[in-house]
């Protein structure tokens, strides 16, 4: 699939757009350019999207230079201009491409849908910005759920057998909150970093379960269950939220490293404490320790 493609009836002065051999990237470009006669130069990104491939370097200077040569692009067009997706920039050095091939690189908008406007009026500030709207966050939910599918089923089954419906529902709620509710609520959760946003969400969804334990019985074991539930849910949702950083469009490596060092010890301590208190009180009441 990498190679040079014709869109419409391009001639020797038609623009050349560069894309990745990732179906959605290529299709988005093709549908945005429905009324344009152009060439599309598809780089071999091993089926990965432009931005991720640029980060890895497969959508990169070397691949672009090689592809220009392999497709004999100079024999198809008289001009020496390429239009690249802006998100290809982390992998491509425009001045290096110019020096090695004679082609000057122009970065188009972030989203292919903005190309018609870009071609007629140039780039606006807005076209250059990556956002993370609800729609983009929502499409990640199935991916997130698939990543934790095994854990959800296993935790639900084990807890259902050991403790009945309520503990099983607690596990299910925690994972759904982290994998589905968190992406939706990301911008409205207070605080600035992913983990603390997740911990807040975990605390919020643990309230009904804590109240259930506190109101459906008396004795200190109910308080232990309630406390353990809150600790565990905060830890699980916080951890899932931290793991969402890679899916976001704005987390930096320095920021994420900072979060890992700042929160992992706390999350681990909360999980261990929550689990230990519950296990000890369950075992204790069964074995008659207390």
């Amino acid at each position: 699939m990498p190679g040079l493609y014709r869109l419409g009836n391009p001639d020797r002065s038609s623009p050349v757009f560069v894309s990745a051999n990732y179906t959605l990237s290529f299709d988005a470009l093709r549908s945005a350019l429905q009324d344009v006669d152009a060439y599309i130069l598809v780089l071999d990104t091993k089926g990965i999207n432009v931005w991720c491939a640029a980060g890895k370097g497969t959508f990169g200077t070397d691949e672009l230079v090689d592809r220009i040569e392999a497709t004999s692009l100079v024999e198809h067009v008289d001009h020496r201009r390429l239009i690249l997706p802006q998100l290809g920039a982390p992998g491509v050095s425009a001045h290096e491409v110019k020096a090695r091939t004679g082609f000057s690189v122009e970065y188009g908008p972030v989203r292919a849908a903005d190309l018609p406007e870009y071609l007629s009026a140039g780039a606006t500030e807005e076209m250059r910005r990556v956002t993370f709207p609800l729609r983009d966050r929502a499409v990640l939910i199935p991916v997130e759920l698939r990543n934790v599918a095994f854990e959800i089923v296993a935790a639900f089954a084990v807890l259902f057998i050991l403790g009945g419906l309520v503990p099983a529902m607690i596990a299910l709620t925690a994972v759904l909150a982290g994998a589905a509710l968190f992406p939706i609520l990301l911008p409205v959760l207070p605080t600035n970093d992913f983990t603390s946003k997740g911990m807040l969400l975990g605390a919020a969804v643990s309230v009904p379960f804590a109240l259930y334990y506190l109101t459906t019985g008396a004795g200190w074991t109910r308080i232990v269950y309630a406390t353990g539930t809150v600790l565990l849910m905060v830890a699980v949702v916080g951890y899932l939220a931290l793991n969402f950083t890679g899916c976001s469009t704005y987390a930096s490596r320095t920021g994420v490293k900072g979060e890992i060092f700042r929160y992992i010890p706390t999350l681990a301590a909360m999980a261990v404490m929550g689990l230990a208190t519950i296990v000890v009180s369950v075992a204790g009441s069964i074995l008659g320790w207390f």
Binding site: G47, C52, A54, G55, Q86, P90, V130, R253, I260
Partner: protein
Amino acid sequence: MIDMPMIATGQESANKINTLRFFPGRCVRCGRCWEVCPHGVFAPSEKKARMAAPERCMECGACQRNCPAGAISVDAGVGCASAMIKAALTGSKEVTCGPECCR
């Protein structure tokens, strides 16, 4: 990653929350940094570019790679906790954005 040796000048502007550094003394006003940055960190200007919002930098490395004057330095990488944790646990090199993730 950096093509030219970086010379720290008195004008260097760094920031405390990420690895982005800008050396205005080297800026040639080409506007590439504004063109490639997905978060509007750099503002184009009549004189030199300026870091308008360094705190928004996600360290993708696009500006550094496309600055023809070597006026920008950033330790580029992917902000993915799951990859970093996996790498730390298995002692392997960080792997991100493979076929099983981030397509």
